[in-house]
Amino acid sequence: MSQPKIYIQAAEQVSIQQPLSQQWMSEPILTDQLLATATVPNYRDFIDPREARRMGGLIKRALVTTLKVLRDTGVEHPDAFITGTSIGSLDYTERFLDALDESEEALSPTYFMQSPHNTVGSALAIHTRSHGYNTTYSHGACSFDWAVMDAWIQMQLGKIRTALVGGYEEMTQDYFELLQKTGYVGQPGMAPCAEMSMSMMLNTQCSDNCLCQLAGVAMGNLAYRERMRQQLAQMLNAAHLTAADVSAVMTGKNGNPDNDACYDGIVDDLLPGVPLLRYKHLFGENYTASAMGVYAAAHCLAQGMVPDCLQEQPRLFKPCAILLVNQMDQQEYSLMLLTKI
């Protein structure tokens, strides 16, 4: 099988940082809030206000990052829309649950209709009238990573050439409080729990505006460490790189000791001593936070620099390849290798 190269043509975000902008690279917004909501862009630039009124926040943010990417890449109808969201339209789900607590009679279907996880991905297709492949992964902290994996697989198979891949998550006060009790977010010293929307265009064709190459992606179970090492070796080999070419590893460290120790273990296994980057203190923690890691790494490679705000031990260097490591419940992981063009 001939292996097509895959490029990240564009990537846009709405998060704690300035929306639809890379301003965070020079002027990062840091917050000490435990729960931080997304900074909303001007929706009117992208969505008819009458249409926007009928949409939940999650869908609006997903649509805006998607439409920006479609506009910037000129890809009107990508071959696939592949969505990662662990909890989907949480706000509407809880509103329907609240109504259900009152009574099972005389319920309005409005909130229910937007509650399934695939509402986001299908809203993107409905809005853009795109009939191509469309699916949604809801696999906790690896939801976005599986969406990337799916696009990768189908590009290898020659089934698709362009894919709009996104990670979208929202948060409510009630759900945050539950997650805080479980220890997942809201602990002292942790990155804020946050909302995020990140859309990117994967394309098998390289164009002038491409940010970087997606050189490899792999998923697995942390019980099988040897396989994880093999996956990285294969990934590097396919990209004609060696371990020494990896400029940095971007981890999902968030200030929670259990979570962070897990990453230290993985990095020691894979690439001991390599400079470490992190992004969750800037973009926040949530299930599809890994999308923000890919977004940040792609823009670093495109600009040929890594801002101090991402570095554990700041120094000046020109990144060639960044390995992204993401773990879920200290049981599962994803690896993604991004390289400069």
């Binding site: 259900l100 279907p109 399934p116 809203a123 191509g132 992964y137 599986w146 409080e177 009790k181």
Partner: protein, 398 residues
């Protein structure tokens, strides 16, 4: 044509039984599993549902595990079906390092969250874990009993979820990422989605009547089903006998409306066409269509249009087995796939129960059970948001 993908194991749980044997006898006898609510705690007792006739405690006992307050009904159903699929394929705990699992659900842990939601503000950690049990946690909980899979993944595209899990798994095999992938879905009934569908006014107060002129909506059901997909190389190396082949599949988006299908069934038409093309088949090669056939006025008309567009005047026998199980939403794709496997193996056309009068512009389903030598079956699953998917199962008769 694609390189062959074999199915070497299958497990199923639905309102018509636990396991393939009970399922087969109910399908042959034309015995529906839809009836009065016995396990779901809802005030809508007048709405018929396709419940699995087991309490959670009974399922825990059947699984031979210690009870855990965190168990969800979705996970227990999933475990029963997954166990049967793994057993049939001869996959034991020590082999799972090379076996991937792609599971699907939308309800996930909603059955537990809705019980506690009113007390969540003051709940303890255990109930917080319960309240935040996600679709991915559901897959982890289903898998945990059997060992450490090579990877876990969760697809959630509402009513087409399980079919899309099959597609992901099949693509993983074709890409060389795996030799064995177990795919499927699990979904329990919940007050949440029963009330949601009820508010949408698409639940029939009687037994659902797919493709009937007087159809008045769907009945919700629950269950789980898993298929073991395997490459030719692995089948040969392990010396296992395949049940049938997954010959093709398609996924397309109707891109029309969040909860309604387009009048011309564009998404459905594209999904079926793509599956045929991948299988290298013509419409005339299809011997039976297991329709999505929910029983709602909208779906059955839209699906009829799509089938007529693709098949022209020569429409193969069609039936909706949702008249047996109710609409098992995220599990329906693989539950119905197992029905197709049974039809291929035992040479019969599953009947479309409760059908009496032809609908205008609609297809006429198989209303009487009959024997038939089947080679190729097309199975449809369409979801909210227009996430439409189809797959084709083929048996290679010696």
């Amino acid at each position: 044509m694609i390189e062959p993908i074999y199915i070497t194991g299958a497990g199923v749980v639905s309102a018509i039984g636990v396991g393939k044997e009970q399922t087969l006898s109910a399908l042959n006898a034309g015995t529906t599993g839809i009836g009065t609510m016995a396990y779901l705690d809802s005030c809508h007792r007048d709405i018929p549902v396709g419940e699995v006739k087991l309490s959670n405690d009974e399922m825990v006992q059947m699984l031979g595990v210690d009870n855990d307050p965190l168990f969800t009904r979705t996970a227990l159903l999933g475990r029963l079906a997954l166990r049967e699929a793994l057993d049939q394929a001869g996959l034991t705990r020590d082999m799972l390092a090379d076996v991937h699992l792609v599971s699907s659900t939308t309800v996930g842990g909603m059955d537990r969250r809705e019980q506690n939601h009113a007390q969540e503000k003051t709940c303890d950690r255990l109930h917080a874990v319960m309240g935040t049990h996600s679709c991915g946690n559901s897959t982890q909980m289903i898998a945990a009993q059997f060992g450490q899979f090579a990877s876990l993944s969760t697809v959630s595209t509402a009513c087409s979820s399980a079919t899309n899990a099959v597609i992901t798994g099949a693509n993983m095999l074709r890409c060389g990422l795996a030799d064995i992938v177990v795919v499927g879905g699990s979904e329990s009934l919940s007050k949440f989605h029963l009330n949601g569908f009820n508010a949408l006014m698409i639940l029939d107060r009687q037994q659902c009547r797919p493709f009937d002129r007087d159809r008045a909506g769907l009945n919700l059901g629950e269950g789980a089903a898993y298929l073991v997909l395997e490459t030719a190389r692995s089948v040969k190396a392990r010396g296992v006998t395949p049940l049938c082949r997954l010959a093709g599949y398609g996924n397309a988006c109707d891109a029309f409306h969040q909860t309604a299908s387009s009048p011309d069934g564009e998404g459905a038409y594209r999904a079926m066409s793509e599956a045929l093309e991948m299988a290298g088949m013509k419409p005339a090669d299809i011997d039976y269509i297991n329709a999505h056939g929910t029983g709602t006025p909208n779906n059955d008309l839209s699906e009829s249009q799509a089938i007529k567009r693709l098949f022209g005047p020569e429409i193969p026998p069609v039936s909706s087995t949702k008249s047996f199980t109710g609409h098992t939403t995220s599990a329906s794709g693989t539950i119905e796939a197992v029905f197709c496997l049974l039809a291929l193996e035992h040479h019969f056309l599953p009947v479309n129960l409760n059908w009496q009068n032809a609908m205008e512009e609609g297809i006429v389903p198989v209303a009487e059970p009959r024997q038939a030598e089947l080679r190729n079956i097309l199975s449809n699953a369409f979801g909210f948001g227009g996430n439409d998917s189809s797959m084709i199962f083929t048996i290679d008769h010696a």
